[in-house]
Amino acid sequence: MIAEAGLAALWLATALAALQLALAFGLGGEQGRQVAPIRAVAVGQGLLTILAFAALVAVFLRSDMSVLLVAENSHSQKPWIYKFAGAWGNHEGSMLLWVTVLAIAGAVVALFERRLDERTLSASLGAQAALALGFFAFLLIASNPFERLDPAPLDGRGLNPLLQDPGLAFHPPTLYLGYVGLSVAFSIAVGGLIRREVGPAIARAMRPWVLAAWIMLTLGITAGSYWAYYELGWGGWWFWDPVENASLMPWLAATALLHSVNVLAARGGLRAWTMMLALVAFSMSMVGTFLVRSGILTSVHAFAVDPTRGSFILVLLTLYIGGALTLLALRIADVKEGAPFNIVSREGGLVINNLLLSVILGVVFVGTLYPLIAEAVSGEKLSVGPPYFNSVASPVALALAALMLIGPQLRWRRDSAPILPRLAPGLLIAVVILVGSIILWPAIGILPRLGLVLGVGLLPASVMPLFGRSLRRTPLAVWGMVLAHLGVAVAILGMASDSAFTREKLAASRPGDTVSVGPWLVEFKQVMPAAGPNWTALEAELRASRGSGVTVLKPQSRFFPDPPTTTNEAAIDTSWNGQLYAVLGERDEQGRWQLRLWWKPFVTLIWLGGILIALGGALALLGRLFRERQQRRRVEEAYE
């Protein structure tokens, strides 16, 4: 019953999406085109979609094996949290989650948006409904999550053990909130272009969504990176895997948009460019979803590959992105540019920021698709690995970091004051670090060295925008920017330290042996069997000592019987200045175990930086929303 109710809710929501689109098109006459009816329809659509999603979660929690999706992806013996997360740990469920977020976003816009004029809001809600309609159709036609299985099996087929991790419960939903949050920016841009109303109001309406989506993407990518780091047992934190790139590309576009939307909101500039970025950001989300869901690129992320589904999403994204970009091309000539600005100005800095981010986006896009292009053109199979991405994207990213030494301190429109005094603190420290690092560590590579130099230089430079301000009256948004930029500095330091100072040791050793890695002496005590709720494992006991500090690490090689899979659980000891990372590998014929040890100084700064960036975003978002509310109240009071 629950499954049928969910399916019915999904069909009804689809009908409402169609109605919403028709109303926005004017098929219900002028009266239907007004905001009030459209708003009601959008809220109804959101509620019904939530109902459908709740139904899916319910059948997973009840382990209802007569639902095909549950039987294929769940197991009655799984801990409840993984049953819960299992609802979206598969293709159909994750697409339903995607659409649910999309419909909720539409409903929230309909309920709370007050900055746009009514016609533009109607057009934007129409665009949002068009997006929802396509993805509802995709669910109902090509991936029905509520399909029954008759006869029902006794138990389910389990879940990929790599995915039995608390991280799974939060990683995909966080990313989806980010991906789909960008849909609102897309719809508002489409609405503005249709109505020829591209101006600061559009930017202000878009901004909280861009910020919120960007925060979620930042958190999702940070969490995903840490998950890959401790779960895959390869010691790396970013693999330039197509699925990782699929989340990085919308993030890059959203980061650029986040900066340019401020120019449009504050100064009325960069109108056409901001509209394009708003379209590109959500397009990248759809392209990312397509690349992941179609299985078109091989990746460490295993998903069901189905060409029909791939073709379906491809048709959808061609219609949506193609339609929006055509609209942009036709309307771009009508878009008036805002106030002119000098190149040495906040706007100028943000333009360069946007260009550099776009270059990185292009590099990642081309690198991700290059294997496909090469095969289409020459029939040659090849893969583009980290060397390409690292050597091409890193210098551009470092140039962007260098720009951050001064950019946030520039004034709007035209900055004729001397630059050097403001640049001095960051620059001085950077030079000191450069000289110091060359003396202390002459052997490290140029990119990690520049990373260290810029990372340290950015610490004071990021705080500089607060200089000379009354701290109590500084808007929250500025605090947010400072915090986010500090986060970037911290993350860069972590990345640079990881690539410059990591020590790795691969040793075939027997219990009783001692292995040294970095400052640590690791004694291999023993290997013992261990067991968990649905796995058995071999667990090594390693006693690691450094000076007087002693810690015990227990890496495992885990075996999941259902389905039979072996995973390596890395053991990680975190101290203030880095992580000791241990992986237990295979045993050879002579009874020696493959032990992989890494000492990674300050590697944790990477994720700490990510969290700081997201926190900065959250602060800015709160500041913006709070301030707008105050302003609205002031305006209302003035009218009374």
């Binding site: 056409a272 078109i296 060409p307 491809l314 970009l325 055509t326």
Partner: protein, 175 residues
């Protein structure tokens, strides 16, 4: 702004769609073209892999008759799956040589006893040197070498029932 620039994002999209549509619609070519086909077998001499069989060296191939070379190991599970098909191929009169990779004589003997011995010669390749020289990246793999000792075909992975006609065809071609 010139018209071309205005439509540039759209053109990029169309390019993207064209490439991925091609990938979705064109049947995927899972064959990895061997870099060794058309080249002579590299020079090597391998000792017998177990008692009672002959070893294998590169000079054993220039006999005027094409033959299969099966790269296998007793510890390799897919090799067990393809063993009956190799027996079948042997029954059709095709000579098969073999290279046992990273194996022990006792294990090889046990493997042959349990799963049959279709091989004329079995060389032991304890450190995978010859395997790597042949351009083989895993077990099992099967090569077809013509009567002059030139590699004509490389089959990666186990031979499955559907592959037997293909192997026979390639062998006919190599004659």
């Amino acid at each position: 702004m010139s018209r071309l620039v205005r439509f540039a994002p759209l053109l990029i999209l169309l390019l993207f769609v064209a490439v991925v549509a091609w990938r979705l619609l064109a049947p995927e070519d899972t064959k990895i073209r061997s870099r060794m086909t058309g080249r002579p077998v590299p020079a090597f001499v391998l000792a017998p892999a177990t008692g009672g069989v002959s070893g294998l060296s590169s000079t054993d191939f220039a006999t005027g008759q094409p033959r299969l070379v099966n790269v296998f190991a007793s510890w390799c599970v897919p090799c067990i799956a393809e063993a009956p098909l190799l027996m079948e191929i042997k029954r059709r009169g095709i000579p098969i040589n073999a290279i046992a990779v990273r194996d022990k004589p006792a294990d090889v003997a046990e493997f042959l006893q349990s799963h049959g011995n279709p091989f004329d010669r079995i060389g032991a390749d304890p450190e995978s040197r010859v395997q790597i020289a042949l351009g083989s990246s895993g077990v099992p793999e099967t090569f077809i070498v013509d009567g002059q000792g030139v590699i004509r075909y490389q089959h990666m992975g186990p031979i499955e029932p559907g592959d037997v006609p293909l192997i026979l065809r390639e062998w006919e071609k190599a004659r």
